[in-house]
Symmetry: C2
Subunit: 421 residues, 2 copies
């Protein structure tokens, strides 16, 4: 692990900056890019609003919205403490998706006020990413926004996680000789747990139980809020009650988005044959890769980079947003999310094995192949389902992603070489 002092020093002065894509050296440059020339552009856009995608940065720029109420695993530290995380996310959007991302950390926890705010600033952006807002508020906010604004809203903690877990689950189930009747237990019912459930359920898995700190969730349970009732309506038809350790008996797959140490060897020993364990708590999983394997797990995935099968949102969100921006998407839908999962799932190619159910984010192929494939698949699904403002050849989206990432690699190398002052 890295040391605190080193990290603080490295963050000195912040991590992102805004630069020009055009020359601004001569009077002529300024008269083209600012007054009087820019008036032509404003008039053109006033005449035809969609032109804003042609002539401004809107089409490649997103806002990362957070109120800082659920920063990483740290809880509610507020919008100021959210800033370094959102800047980090912006780096990843650019590096891996060629997407310009602007952190917007907001000083309000009021649901309606956040919705109103994002609605108001939406003209500026080609997409919105909701990040590190406490559940269930984050879900309401993202869903309301999806209905009310005309650019796509990605709720990465939920949808990005769901996309990647579904991709890994498809491959794991295939290897283990299981099918959509597999019995799945999800431990954790926040944005990530709900997001995983959504994707697995939409894909066709129907035998799922979600467990929260009070035990298995079932319809009508006294502790349920709206979100938990929604979860109950999609899961646990037999209304099983009980702790994780009870309901895990006989399960084919156990997925944790909970906390360190939440899974035991005994849990795994109670599962069906060829148990599949996704222990995704970060940085310390519910059970370590080695321990889970020793306890009999056939396939184990974690969030860590130092053991096989790292499940990481970085596989999904850059390509998802890239694909949506390229078609100037109006919204993000199930078909586009599914397309992303399929592209990631196929990304393992012939290397598919219990130690390789998902592509690695640190492999070169992540940027050269996986991200472009995800972008192309998402764009294609968006066009097919009426979410595109423009039609683009799928191959063109793939090529564009590759070129953007290559271009940014060059710019970054050059810019980083210039000393900060």
């Amino acid at each position: 692990m890295v040391e605190k002092e080193e990290v603080l020093k490295a963050h000195s002065g912040g991590k992102i900056e805004v630069i020009s894509k055009v020359p601004t050296d001569s009077v002529r440059d300024l008269s083209i890019y600012y007054t009087p020339g820019v008036a032509y552009v404003s008039e053109e856009i006033a005449h035809n609003r969609e032109r804003v995608y042609d002539y401004t940065s809107k089409g490649n720029t997103i806002a990362i919205i957070s109120d800082g109420t659920r920063i990483l695993g740290l809880g509610d530290l507020g919008p100021y403490a959210a800033m370094p995380v959102m800047e980090g996310k912006a780096l990843l959007f650019k590096k891996f998706g060629g997407v310009d991302a602007v952190p917007i950390c907001v000083d309000t926890k009021d649901e309606a006020e956040i919705v109103r705010l994002v609605k108001d600033i939406a003209p500026t952006f080609g997409g919105i990413n909701i990040e590190d807002i406490k559940s269930p508020r984050c879900i309401t906010i993202a869903e309301r926004l999806s209905k009310e604004i005309d650019v796509p809203v990605l709720h990465d903690d939920r949808q990005g996680t769901g996309v990647v877990v579904l991709a890994a689950a498809i491959n794991a189930v295939k290897l283990a000789g299981k099918d959509r009747n597999a019995r799945i237990v999800i431990n954790g019912a926040g944005a990530a747990g709900y997001g995983i459930l959504e994707r697995l359920h939409h894909y066709g898995f129907r035998n799922i139980i979600v467990v929260d700190t009070k035990g298995a969730i079932f319809a009508g349970r006294a502790e349920n809020d709206d979100l938990k009732e929604r979860i109950a309506s999609m899961t646990n038809p037999q209304k099983l009650a009980g702790s994780l350790h009870e309901v895990v008996a006989g399960a084919d797959m156990l997925i944790g988005v909970s906390s360190r140490g939440a899974f035991t060897r005994e849990d795994i020993s109670k599962m069906a044959s060829k148990p599949i364990i996704f222990a995704l708590a970060n940085p310390y999983p519910e059970i370590s890769y080695a321990e889970a394997r020793e306890a009999g797990a056939y396939i184990v995935a974690t969030g860590r980079s130092d053991t096989p099968n790292q499940v990481n949102n970085l596989l999904a969100f850059p390509g998802l947003m890239r694909g949506m921006l390229d078609i100037r998407a109006k919204a993000l839908n199930d078909e586009m999310l599914d397309a992303a999962s399929m592209a990631i799932s196929k990304g393992v190619g012939k290397r598919l094995s219990p130690e390789y159910i998902i592509p690695g984010i640190l492999e070169k192929s992540h940027v050269t192949r996986v991200v472009p494939d995800v972008a192309a698949a998402v764009a294609e699904a968006g066009m097919r389902t009426g979410q595109a403002r423009v039609m683009v050849a799928k191959e063109q989206v793939r090529k564009h992603a590759k070129e953007l990432l290559k271009r940014y690699g060059r710019i970054e190398r050059k810019a980083i070489g210039v000393r900060r002052v």
Copy 2:
């Protein structure tokens, strides 16, 4: 003038992008700049909020807020049409002030809603620039924000213009052998007209008349709104009524922030000796430089780059914001605005003459000397008047500005060399 088709083509894909200031190549990089390392930074900021200035981009990043209700001279074209202008402004903030600026174009004209929105997003930014919002709403919004948020609010259309005009007026009056008793007529009572009045009045000019489309403004005039009443309370003690052409008689200085052709040769012939004309309508002044000189004007300034004495906000806003960011200012006050005017005014040095009352924005000295001097003067005034979160040596602010502009010049040259895709 540039051609429409060329301008549209040049704007293709937008003008700004977000890049990393730090390397993001290795697992180790990501573990420092994103998870798990970034958690140290969030905790540090949660513990001490002011640290957000040390460890994030907040301290060098501003939002440019517009609702698009008064875009350039084009009127209310809405937030989408505002985008290319705000991106252009962002380029100028970076190029001439080393400031990272993010356009935020908002889809509401509701005053309270805009105030609320900017208040909510303020944690993200080290300063706010209000741009191209219709008067008098822009003034109410900027003034309310100045009271309600803890970062400085620059209303450039008003304050930037006022700062530069005061700088030019000080030198013009000196050359003409006039003083603070000079009789001044300002034609135009929007944000710019009011901004000019504010600065001149605060400097000590007391013999001012402001004229709007209904004629001279005086206290109790039937057409007055709140802003016009405020203007009346600072001007026209004799309550003169009448058109511009009437009240200009005997004036020492005539300042136009109105429209092409608003001033005539006859107006100038009616003025006191050594008349001073600032014809600032853009791109076509109230009277051309040549015509005003022929009509007997001793000093003429316009907004144009092709005649002497170009009055342009670019002399003020980059340095103003630079100085404020360097002291992590809480607010912008009269003393800081005055300091900016003085620095610009002194910027002409020994070259002071009727053809050179203000430094040129296209001279090399603009970036090597004027901007750094303005930044240093503003920072010093801010520290002196209790608006600074940190104390910095004035010389250090000057040096920092020079280094930032030099650094950005290098980055821009390198990045522009990488082909857009």
